[in-house]
Each structure stands twice: as structure tokens, then as C-alpha cells.
């Protein structure tokens, strides 16, 4: 294993790793860092790579840890969002009596590759627009598939706080998708 292998990893899996990282970190720069950290770690650990998993699976496993490392560093830097602002935004979606202010439109299912990739782009754009901590919790849970307890521990927040952030993120995300014209195919 030499530079040739490392270059092959970069050529064959670089973009794939970048897309996974980009979706969870909401920043091109941080996602590039995650890919770099992953390949450097892979280079160090290459003797331990038994070869029973495909290189891509092995690299994705390393990437998951690198993403969490980056988030841990970053969470210390981001300012905590003002909570009442989000609470007002949630309240605006409902009437005083707790009913929806506006009826929800039904979504169809994307039928073609083009529709699916358009949907993914809107999802990523909408997630990028969430406040940093909320975006982080949402993406780690929904895109990264991490358990909430794990996310709370990594980000240093309580489970209740985690659920509140996820609830709000989901409300904002579905509204954002609708505002951006997503209704699925044929709906």
C-alpha cells in the first residue's frame, strides 16, 4: 500500500465520502476536512485493514468517526441559538388552539432519478438553513442514523433538548420543502 492506493481511494471514493460528510456537516470546507482526515487515518491504519470489508465500507466507517470529531470541535465554537425565536416560529405554524394554521399538502413519491436528486438538493438546502446546532442534531440523526443518546452525549445536551430540537427541525424542514415547491411527482 503506497501513494498509489491512497490516490485510488481519493479517485474512487473521494466524492462519495464528500457527499456523506457534506450532508452532515453543512459546509464544503468542513466536509473537505473530513475526507482528508479520513484518508490520512486510512493511510495510518492500512495495515489493520483486513480487507474483508470493501474499501468503501471501511472508509465510510472511518469517516463517521471523523465527522463526529469535527462536530465536537465545532459545537464548542458555535453560539447557542436563541431559543424563543424558534419557539415563535413553531407557534406560527399552529393556531392558538393547537390546530394547524395551514393545511398540509400531500407529497407524492419521486419516480425518476432526476426527481430524486432534485429532492435531495432541496433537502440539503433546507437543512443548511437550519440554525447550526439544530442542523447538526437533525443531520446526525436523520442522515447519519446516530442514536439520540449518542448525539446528546457528543453535543453535550440533554435528551429532552435533543427531542425539542428534532421536533422543531422536522417542522421547519417539511415547511421548507413545501415552500420550495416540493410536492413529489404527480401530486
Amino acid at each position: 500500500m503506497e501513494m498509489r492506493d491512497a490516490r485510488t481511494w481519493l479517485d474512487e471514493h473521494g466524492d462519495y465520502l464528500f457527499r456523506i460528510a457534506r450532508r452532515q456537516l453543512h459546509s464544503d470546507e468542513l466536509a473537505e476536512d473530513a475526507v482528508q482526515d479520513t484518508l490520512l487515518a486510512a493511510l495510518t491504519a492500512r495495515e489493520r485493514y483486513a480487507g474483508d470489508a470493501s474499501p468503501r465500507t471501511w472508509l465510510v466507517g472511518i469517516l463517521k468517526h471523523k465527522i463526529v470529531d469535527i462536530i465536537r470541535r465545532r459545537v464548542r465554537e458555535v453560539e447557542l441559538p436563541r431559543d424563543d425565536e424558534d419557539e415563535e416560529a413553531v407557534d406560527a405554524l399552529f393556531r392558538q388552539n393547537g390546530h394547524w394554521a395551514e393545511p398540509l399538502r400531500a407529497w407524492g413519491n419521486p419516480q425518476t432519478e432526476a426527481e430524486l436528486s432534485q429532492l435531495r438538493r432541496i433537502l440539503d438546502d433546507c437543512a443548511d438553513r437550519l440554525k447550526p446546532l439544530m442542523a447538526q442534531v437533525f443531520s446526525l440523526r436523520e442522515a447519519g442514523g446516530m442514536e439520540t443518546e449518542e448525539i446528546c452525549k457528543e453535543l453535550g445536551i440533554t435528551p429532552t433538548n435533543c427531542w425539542v430540537l428534532l421536533h422543531r427541525a422536522r417542522l421547519f424542514m417539511r415547511q421548507c420543502l413545501e415552500l420550495n415547491g416540493y410536492s413529489g411527482a404527480g401530486a
Binding site: 473521494g14 457527499r19 473537505e32 399552529f94 398540509l104
Partner: protein
């Protein structure tokens, strides 16, 4: 836990149900509300759909990719590491 929840409360339950196990009373209240409220049923369905789409494989060639600059930078870093 009350049995008749508002839509707002129902969205909280539907959301938490995706991350943790609800109590028996909560599951009952959620199920009852979803059975009679089209909007909340849609909400519950849509937040599940979002998860499905976000967890799909990232092999979407139209998606974002590494820039040439980033690629070169990473290659240089790998080379440096090997030289040491």
C-alpha cells in the same frame, strides 16, 4: 398523559416516536389523533419520508463533489504523510 392531544402536541409525539419508545398512553393518544386528523397523518408520513430520502445511498452523481483544489490539497497531504 391526556388522551385528546392538539395537532401541535401530536407532532411532538410523532417526532419523538421516531427517536424513542413512547409510553403506552402516548402511543394510544398518537394513534387516536392520527386516525382522525389528515394533516397530522400527513406530517407523520412526511417526516418518515424525509428520513428515508436522507438515508438513501449517497451515490448520486449529480450531487456535490470535491473541487479540483480540494482534491489536490488532499493529495499533497497524503504525500506528505507518506514521506514521513
Amino acid at each position: 398523559m391526556k388522551w385528546l392531544t392538539t395537532c401541535k402536541e401530536t407532532t411532538e409525539l410523532a417526532s419523538r416516536a421516531m427517536d424513542a419508545r413512547l409510553s403506552f398512553g402516548e402511543r394510544l393518544a398518537l394513534g387516536m389523533h392520527l386516525a382522525i386528523c389528515a394533516n397530522c397523518a400527513r406530517f407523520a408520513r412526511q417526516i418518515k419520508d424525509m428520513r428515508t430520502f436522507l438515508r438513501m445511498d449517497a451515490t448520486d452523481d449529480a450531487g456535490p463533489h470535491l473541487t479540483e483544489d480540494a482534491r489536490r490539497r488532499i493529495e499533497t497531504e497524503l504525500q506528505n504523510k507518506l514521506d514521513h
